[in-house]
Symmetry: none
DNA sequence: CATGAATGAGGTTTCATTCAT
DNA sequence: GATGAATGAAACCTCATTCAT
């Protein structure tokens, strides 16, 4: 279903040489984890439920393939990040103007949600429930921050070029991300939600909020 | 059949006749729960941690005052909702125009966050981690929905009066709420965050996003 | 309702000088315990439930009047034994022949059940769940054994007089008691059970089982 | 959706494909439960005691094999019912006349008690302490009722054939069962009790009680 | 006398993880 | 590689009992 093993190998530190999505079992477990997390949430997604959903007879299988809960969650995040990156990048880079890129970013995120609702639900659940504890997971928060920082830089450039009005770009990108994630969360519980329409509305909203004063 | 008190009252002392935050221990436990939830999150906020934080020797004490975990969480939500309602209402009603009320709502929320960061962190944690499970808790989701619905109605009225431009008010109020909650979440981990400044920025942002086209 | 404070004082070792059924609180608690035990069984009859049923605001009241769970149960047993003794004795002694007395004993027990279903249910529950543990409670088992032993002696006398056929009187009295207690247990769950009819049937049954061979 | 085993079996190992007493650990736990219940009673038979008696290091092991307390008790009841059924049926069916079958039933029960005292003690404890609560357990009460109903029918047939005198068969079978269970209960605490002799006495007793009038 | 808060032990259950096979 | 039994910690909750007021 979610495929994407065309990209490079990119090995983990795991014992055997297996790509993240390559080997059957690992990918199968990650896929099951995504489903379960989307359905019952991060904390209720126990190994037992994931194993049952994956058709595995015991949780031992998961522990065999993943060093621990965090390792599995890491696998999920990487899987979804790769998926999202591959989906979003070309859609954004297809546009030139900052305004068009901003719209593409918002609408692209919600188009992606329409296609992979569980994937986005899972990553939002995981990243939203991270606490300082785990060292390996905090890296993802930094990755996420890095993505936002990149968007901030793009906005700053556009502002200097007079393409956006004056505002704190950090507040803006966070508000945008929060609005998108909110749709992701609601879509989890309400399958009738028209996420693409919400995407257009949000794009309109933030277009008005960023448009240079005439 | 037999007995029952002659006074006919038959109260259990900590159920009837006491405000939700009135009785000493109950309030103390709720306060401890707020602190712990803000610190470690909804699911990690075990009775053991809350009891320790409250200076209680055992978790049994919490079960003595609260029927269960959900009951305690309900107590927390009610406490914070009362606090927030009392804080926000006069600040909003001090203004007349929809735009001013919108700004007061956003900045008021973040002023409240500056004064009670843990309270807001706790309620965001709790409401954000609710699943369909508990019947008594879902009521809070409906309460929250009701608040949003009220804001939606106010916006619709303002739009008809030409005071706001044309947009989907549901998407707007949810984006606003998501942006505020996002600040709440970040403030939990970053005590240096200037939430009042963020409030002003968000108020500016959504003012531009709602302003009627000239 | 169950009254019977006309009999002598018969103090317990309890601190204050209170007869078993005299003081209000003690009797009230015992009455509540009888109801609760009859309803939910011996082990589920917690102090909390009994206190609630008695209209008391806390279990501390029970502990204040009774040294412990066993003491309360002792109070229940004594209460019911006194009730049963006062009810049964005259009904049995009104007859002369062993056969008539046997019938009076069986039917009297079930008439008593018809009038005080919860009292009998409670004592059957308590005595049926006794284990060797408690020293003070074992005395009741011995009391019960004593009652059976008395009946055994009466039967033996009657057998020597040729009024009953030859059988092991211990087995007989135990079978009779077991049959009666079984009706008590069923009556607890089935309020429509006609216990007096069952009493007549059981009296007939054991009359045939004891009748001297002609 | 995805995955599921290629074999299509998807068994959990201790749910499907195993007889109730077959798998080693399950049977071992059931056996330990029987011992403990016979010794300390239904309610005092905690997982901790059963685990200790079974040589297990933790109660978690029991929860691993049984879904909960009720599931374990169900296992015990089924185990004993199968044992008793296999023991009693041929002994009863070896006889033709209703009187002989009745005697075989009574004496067979107490012979079985002599051989498996703890098994019968356990099932009497469990069934005697059932309250309306659990849906899966109430089925056993109905099973037991069904057995009695079958005996009632046999008695009715014999009565119509003039082989038994006239009496209420329901009262009779319940009295018989109550007498047998009473011996079971006493045998638990008194290892010196001669249960086979009691069986013969009870068979004599109920033979007289059912014999047709000459 | 009466209250109700506090205690600590004990209950069942779920969890992630390990390990022998 | 794969399995599933075993483990021990931790969770929530109920209980009988004690104690200061």
């Amino acid at each position: 279903m979610q495929a994407r093993n065309s990209s490079g190998k990119q090995k983990t530190g795991h014992e055997a040489g297996s790509s993240f999505t390559g080997t059957g079992r690992r990918a199968q477990i990650v896929a099951a984890a995504i489903d379960v997390i989307a359905e019952v949430g991060y904390h209720q997604a126990s190994f037992a439920k994931i194993a049952a959903h994956a058709g595995l007879s015991s949780t031992g299988m998961i522990s065999y393939h993943f060093k621990g809960r965090d390792d599995l969650m890491r696998g999920v995040v990487i899987e979804v990040m790769q998926l999202a990156g591959g989906y979003m990048r070309p859609r954004i880079e297809a546009h030139e103007s900052p305004a068009a890129r901003l719209r593409a970013s918002i609408e692209g995120n919600l188009d992606l949600l329409a296609e992979y609702p569980k994937h986005l639900a899972a990553i939002v659940e995981i990243l939203g429930n991270l606490r300082g504890g785990d060292p390996g997971m905090v890296a993802f928060l930094e990755t996420t921050e890095g993505i936002l920082a990149f968007q901030v830089e793009q906005i700053r450039t556009a502002q200097r070029a007079g393409e956006f009005c004056d505002f704190d770009p950090w507040v803006m990108v966070r508000a945008i991300r929060a609005a998108i994630d909110d749709v992701v969360r609601r879509a989890t519980h309400d399958p009738d939600l028209d996420v693409r329409a919400a995407g257009r509305e949000l794009a309109d909203l933030f277009e008005r909020a960023t448009k240079r004063t005439s």
